[in-house]
Structures are given as structure tokens and as C-alpha cells.
Amino acid sequence: MDTYLYLDRNTIVHRLDPRTKIMLMAGSFVMTLLFMHPAWVAMALAVVLIHGAVSKSLSNLKRIWWILFMLFTMGTILWALFSSGPTPFVGPIEWEAFLFGLGNALRIDTMIIAGMVFLSTTRNEEIVLGMVKMGVPYRFGFALSTALRLVPTINATVYTISQAQRSRGLDLDSGNAIVRLKKNIPLVVPAFLSTIRSTNVFGMALDSKGFGARPTRTNYLRVGFKTADWVFLAIMLGLLIPGIYLWACKLGRIPGLTKF
């Protein structure tokens, strides 16, 4: 079972310096958050999708489409319910509130997809190195990448445990929410314990490989800014600066939205 989002492909995006990739992701976030109107957010989404297509990482959408779909529908409904506007639309929801819900849900999905593209094109080690080069202490960067690494590991453990418990007759799929929650105890206890145990070995292995032995360390992974990095950053700025100008001109908002 493949446990990482990272896709080992040799595209122009994969070859970028990790700092560029981090900045591209941050740029995508800013661009997404500038506007509220779904039509405008959709433009940001389009840019992110083009980025994903160029890096051949959209195949990972298959792995997270369910989360995206759930967040999109739930987000649209909830945000729409908790805001209002002058134009009636469906039931208690006004047109402006609906646009607001849609816009916010799109924002969340766009940012998740931008994050997915980043993780699909950047190795764990590159993330750490990029952060270190941007001034983040190595230990902090390493801790963050460890957290990222832990998610798939825990997933794999839970998968094994759920098979063991299903073999003993545990039926995880029936009953109401509370019953089902209770049924998860046989999964949670062993998952928690084996995670602690493997984290312990991980800690020992780190120490045993001289983690933090010297104040500075070599980086075997070689990174550096090349022409492509400058081109990508220029494109990003070329989109972001006009975007900020339009935002300053109060464009991309939802007129008449009163409560949020």
C-alpha cells in the first residue's frame, strides 16, 4: 500500500527548488483568500488545477475526492445557513448567503488541492530543506515532516488492526452513530499503543543515527534556484499583484451580504 501522497515524477514542477514550491503554495492560498465571490474563487481554483496538471499530480485527487466533496457540500450548506442577504433563493437561504457558502466551500477545496499539489511534488526531505533555507530551525522542520510521515503510518496500522478485529466478528458498519463510535474502541486502543511503541523505536533510531550531533549538517539533497524557479515565481507574482490590486478595488465581493 502506498502511504505517501508524493508522486515520484520528473516534471518541471518536481524539479523546482522547494522554496519556490512553498512560495507557490503560499501564493495560491493568498490568491484564494482575496476574493469571496465563487466566480472569482473559481478563477483561483483554475490556476491551482493548471499547476496540478503541469505537475501531473491531479491523479491524487482520486484519493481525496471524498473529503473534498464532503467539505464542499457541508461547507456550502452551513455557511449559507449562517449568513443572509436581501434576495430570497431557496427556503431560508438567500441568494447572497448561497453565494457566500459556495465561495467559502470553494476556497477550502482550492486550498486543499493546492496543498495536495505541493505534497505530491515535494519530498518530505525537500520540505524540511526548503524550510531550513528559509530560516526555520532544522529540528522544527524535521518535526513537521515527521508529523506528515506519521499520518500514513498510522493509517496502515489502523488498517491491519481493523482486519484483525473484523476477523473476530467486529462489525464496524452497522448501528447508529454512538454504537459505531463505541465499536471503534477495539481499533483505537491497539492503534494508540502501537503508534507509541513505533515512535519510541523511531526516537531511538534517530538518536542512533547522530541526529543533532553537530550544530550544522550537510544536505545530501541538492537544491538551488534555476531559471524555471524564477519563471514560476514571476508567473505567480504576475497573477498575485493584479489580484491584490483588484481586491483593493473591492472587487470579487458579494454585494448585499449582511451577516457572516
Binding site: M1, D2, T3, Y4, Y6, D8, R123, N124, E125, T146, R149, T157, T160, I161, Q163, A164, Q165, R166, S167, R168, G169, L170, D171, I185, P186, L187, V188, V189, P190, L193, S194, R197, S198, T199, V201, F202, G203, M204, A205, D207, S208, K209, G210, F211, G212, A213, R214, T216, R217, T218, N219, Y220, L221, R222
Partner: protein, 563 residues
């Protein structure tokens, strides 16, 4: 010069009543090759952890005495500082690999020591070629086989160019030939690089390659000497729960004062003494095999043209046909990644065939589902800790009947039965997590027995157990078989197969390569080796003598010494 110098070392983990190590004195010369053996809780892993300072820096506890490695006192230097001198490889290879590709994994250690880039590059290439992983630089560690992962873990430690390499049970999860591969690497290191090697190992056939063997028990050293001397201490090894080597054990049992160590020496000694294999006794064994085979019932599991592929991966199984009859005791063997676990997961419906059909009790598994199949086919997972979650042994064992809606009285009866079967009566109110690994394994078996299944599948039931625990586990499984349960188990341990299984299925690359009664399968040594398997020493000896005998008692029984 002394490489390792341990004086009067005692250590007790915080919160433990008994010390893990007591008054250990051990001196190891540079370039020596020491294997440490002993039962569970002997203090072997703690000793390893002392060498690079994990004890006392990482673990908390009471430390007395002194450990020096190449003159450096472990108490005065951090683990990271010691790491330059002592490389430590752990048993759990999954948890010690954390990079996204092989080259980066190997580079991690030297990176931490600020080694120049060109030098790291050289070391990465050299370490990988030493362990036989060249050309795999860009592979993700997760995609490697078990044996390759352990080799990678070794390479990642070698890249730090330590003077001492310590490996804590590095071969536990590996198939026999991968085990030999690890020891071949060890030998190479010692000869070419004059590295001091300390390896904790519980399988004696591997340990025989060492120059010196240290036997430990209860935190103390009970014997320390040249390997050829220690391996002849058959009684001592048995008494502390370490499996003696088959060949010397056989000659010892025959009352011989001369104890050969290898198969070749054994054959020569056997012939020199003018001993012969007793044809009549051998025929009696074969007749017993045949009788047993006739006593099996109707087929309970039938596999037809089974193929299975995990999403996005190559085929794990390719056209397997197999029949298991009621009352059989079947071993499924094969190298790491040959499809053993994938195959047995079809028997209780955890996996559904990509192609072909699996029938249990005459009905297709896809039509029955895991819940229903669970009453007929029980599955004990390799790691009991993936299964145990209750606060008492009773509740753990009661889980299955409870979930199936049995009455409290019925549950009580079933728990009693199951605990009797595994020998844990009286432990009902114990916390399962407070038991040893062997004890937890028993709880795991009891917890599936309480569903009263006909078939019991065990995935690597002896992994991580010491010799005495392995024996007692397999005696338990054997008893269950005699009581009428059909047993199917997956294993790497060849002596367990030889002594307990009635029939063996050998898988290679997802196909059945060889199948038949244990005696017939072990007679095909050449073919077994093709699948990275090797019969136990005693079986090899008997094969060289022209007959296949599966254990020391069998060979003793069939030996004619006079006229």
C-alpha cells in the same frame, strides 16, 4: 586493542523491580564477531542499548558500572556522539526507516555529522553496494521487501562508518536465505573492514557463524567463549531455553563424546562410527505419516484458480489451486513477499479473489462474508498487540462470543474452555498488556478459540518468541489440532515446520511451487533453496544420509549403531 570494555555493568529500568542487567563484564577485541544469545528478558537488547549510550541517556533507570567503546565512556558522551563509533540496527526495520528514497535514507546519518557532500555520495554508493542494494537508490523504502528493508537499515548505519556494528535480532522477520544474506554481510564487514560485530540472534544456525558466543539469562552472562565451544554445550543451551544446534544435539543424544558442528562433519562422524539408518524404523515413520493422512476428513477449504492483486500493484497471487481437509495441520512457507499472508486472508474473507474462487465448507467465501466466516475460520494475526484492547484477559477472550450475542453463561463457559486450551486458567483478571509477548500471543489465540472455530489460521505464530516460548506455542497448536481443529499456519521458521506440520505448501512469486507431506517436501532441498528456504540442519544431515528425518528424536530413533 579493546573495542568494547564493559565493567561491572548493572542496570534497572525505572519502574521495574528486577534489574535488566547484573554485573556484566565483557571485553571484546577490535575486529571480533560476537553473537549474543539467550531467552526473552535475558537483557540482550538492553546490552545493545548500552553500547551506544541509549542506556543511560534515552532510557531512564539506575545505571552502575562502566561501558567504554574504543575508550569513549558512554556515560560522558551523548547517543549522537557515540553514533560515530557504534552503529545500532534494530529488529523493527519498519520503524527505523523514515526517508522517501533509499539514497536519502543512507545519507541521513553522515548528513548529521556534517560530512562533506562528495564524501556522503561516496559512502551512499559504497554502503548500498556492500549490502547488495545498488541500483535501488531512487526506490521508496516502503516498496522494498522485508529482507531489503533490513539491508537498507544496515546500509544506513554503515554510512556513518562506525567501528562497532551492533544488530539487535536483525533477522527475526526474514526468510531463511535473507537471514543468511544478513550474516554474509556481517562476515564481509569483519573481513574487509575489521569492524567489531555484536549481533543478538535467537536462531542457533545463524549464530554458528560467529567467532564467539555469549549466552545470557536473567541479566547475567552464563557462558562466554569461542563459538565452537559454546555450541557444544548442548545441555546448558537447552537448560536456559536456547535451541541447540541440530547436529551436535543429535550426537549428544546418541551419547557421543565427539560433537561435530556442521552437516559435513556430522556425515563424516556418522560414517566413521559405522552407524546406519534403520530401514524398518524409517518405514514405520512413513507408515505413520500415511495413516495420519488417511484420517483427515472432507475438504473444508477449496481454492480454485485464485489470483489476487492489490490496487495498483502487481499480482500477489497467480492462479493458486489448493485443498485443505478437515483435521489437517498445514504450513504455508515461502520467501518474504511470496503471497503467504495474502493467500490465507482469503480463507476468512478478509480478501476477495480478483480471479478464481475460494470455498469454505462448500460455499463461496464472497457469499458468506467475514462475520459469518469468522465462526468457522479463526485468524490469529502475527502481532498480538494489533488485536488486544481489553483491560482483562477475561474480557478479551469474551469479546468474540459477546459480539455474537451469546448469553453470559455461554460466554463464561467458552472463555473457560479457551483459557484451558491455552493454559491461562487463573489469569482471567490479569491485564493482558502486563503479560510477556508469549503470554499475549496465547491471549490472542484464546480470543479466537472462544468463537469455537473449526479452522484456525495463524500468521507467524512464533515470531518474536524465544525457543522455549516457540515450543510451548507450537505444542498448544498441536494440541488444538489433535482436538479436531484444522490448523493452517504461515511461517519462516523451518524447524517449526519440520517438527509440527503434516503437510507443507511452498509458495513462490504467488504460485504454488511445491506441495506435499512435510517429509517429502524437505527431501527436495535443491528446490527449496530456489525459493530461499533451507531445511533445518538436522534434516539436511539426514538427507545426506539418504533418508529424510524431521527432528533429532526421529533421527535418534532411526539410527542403528551396532551390527
Amino acid at each position: 586493542m579493546l573495542s568494547i570494555d564493559i565493567r561491572d555493568l548493572s542496570y534497572r529500568y525505572r519502574g521495574q523491580k528486577t534489574p535488566a542487567l547484573q554485573s556484566i563484564n565483557l571485553q571484546v577485541e577490535e575486529g571480533d564477531f560476537v553473537v549474543v544469545m539467550g531467552p526473552s528478558e535475558a537483557g540482550k537488547s538492553t546490552l545493545c542499548a548500552c553500547l551506544n549510550g541509549l542506556v543511560p541517556h534515552f532510557f531512564r533507570g539506575k545505571f552502575r558500572g562502566e561501558v567504554r567503546v574504543l575508550g569513549r565512556n558512554t556515560r560522558e558522551h551523548s547517543v549522537a556522539e557515540m553514533a560515530e563509533l557504534v552503529g545500532l540496527v534494530f529488529q523493527d526495520f519498519e520503524a527505523q526507516l523514515f526517508s522517501t528514497n533509499v539514497a536519502l535514507e543512507v545519507a541521513f546519518g553522515p548528513e548529521n555529522f556534517n560530512v562533506p557532500w562528495e564524501e556522503i555520495d561516496r559512502r551512499v554508493r559504497r554502503s548500498l553496494s556492500l549490502v547488495g542494494l545498488e541500483g535501488m537508490e531512487q526506490r521508496a523504502p516502503a516498496t522494498l521487501s522485508g529482507g531489503q528493508k533490513q539491508k537498507l537499515a544496515i546500509a544506513s548505519v554503515l554510512a556513518m562508518e562506525p567501528k562497532v556494528l551492533c544488530m539487535d535480532e536483525p533477522t527475526t522477520d526474514l526468510d531463511p536465505v535473507s537471514k543468511l544474506g544478513i550474516f554474509a554481510i556481517a562476515d564481509e564487514l569483519r573481513r574487509r573492514h575489521d569492524m567489531t560485530l555484536v549481533i543478538v540472534e535467537h536462531e542457533t544456525e545463524e549464530a554458528a557463524k560467529a567467532r564467539r558466543i555469549v549466552l545470557m539469562k536473567g541479566g547475567t552472562v552464563v557462558k562466554d567463549g569461542p563459538a565452537h565451544e559454546v555450541l557444544r554445550e548442548v545441555d546448558l543451551m537447552e537448560s536456559i531455553g536456547v535451541q541447540p544446534l541440530g547436529v551436535p544435539q543429535y550426537f549428544h543424544a546418541m551419547g557421543s563424546s565427539e560433537l561435530p558442528l556442521t552437516v559435513e562433519e556430522g556425515v563424516a562422524e556418522f560414517q566413521a562410527r559405522g552407524w546406519r539408518i534403520d530401514e524398518a524404523a524409517y518405514e514405520a515413520l512413513r507408515r505413520r505419516d500415511a495413516e495420519r493422512a488417511r484420517s483427515y476428513g472432507e475438504p473444508i477449504i477449496r481454492v480454485e484458480g485464485l489470483s489476487y492483486s492489490y490496487p495498483g500493484e502487481v499480482n500477489a497471487l497467480r492462479g493458486v489451486d489448493l485443498e485443505v481437509r478437515r483435521g489437517e495441520f498445514l504450513a504455508i512457507v515461502g520467501q518474504n513477499g511470496s503471497g503467504k499472508t495474502t493467500l490465507v486472508k482469503h480463507f476468512n474473507g478478509l480478501l476477495e479473489p480478483t480471479e478464481g474462487r475460494v470455498y469454505v465448507d462448500g460455499q463461496e467465501t464472497t457469499k458468506q462474508g467475514v462475520y459469518k466466516l469468522g465462526q468457522k475460520v479463526a485468524y490469529v494475526f502475527q502481532n498480538p498487540d494489533h488485536q488486544i484492547f481489553s483491560d482483562t484477559v477475561y474480557n478479551e477472550v469474551a469479546f468474540s462470543p459477546r459480539i455474537r450475542g451469546c448469553s453470559e453463561k455461554e460466554i463464561e463457559q467458552r472463555v473457560k474452555e479457551a483459557l484451558e486450551a491455552v493454559g491461562l486458567v487463573g489469569m482471567e483478571q490479569e491485564d493482558p498488556f502486563s503479560l510477556t509477548k508469549g503470554g499475549r500471543q496465547r491471549v490472542a489465540v484464546a480470543s479466537v478459540l472462544s468463537a469455537r472455530p473449526e479452522v484456525i489460521i495463524l500468521d507467524e505464530p512464533t515470531t518474536g518468541l524465544d525457543y522455549a516460548e516457540q515450543r510451548s506455542m507450537m505444542e498448544l497448536v498441536s494440541r488444538l489440532n489433535q482436538q479436531g481443529h484444522t490448523i493452517i499456519f504461515v511461517t519462516h521458521s523451518m524447524w517449526v515446520v519440520a517438527e509440527y506440520a503434516h503437510r507443507v505448501v511452498v509458495l513462490k512469486d504467488g504460485k504454488v511451487l511445491l506441495e506435499g507431506p512435510t517429509r517429502e517436501v524437505f527431501a527436495r532441498e535443491d528446490l527449496l533453496r530456489e525459493t530461499f528456504l533451507q531445511p533445518p540442519q538436522i534434516v539436511s544431515l539426514s538427507n545426506c544420509l539418504g533418508k529424510t528425518l524431521l527432528s533429532v528424536p526421529e533421527l535418534v530413533q532411526c539410527t542403528r549403531t551396532g551390527g
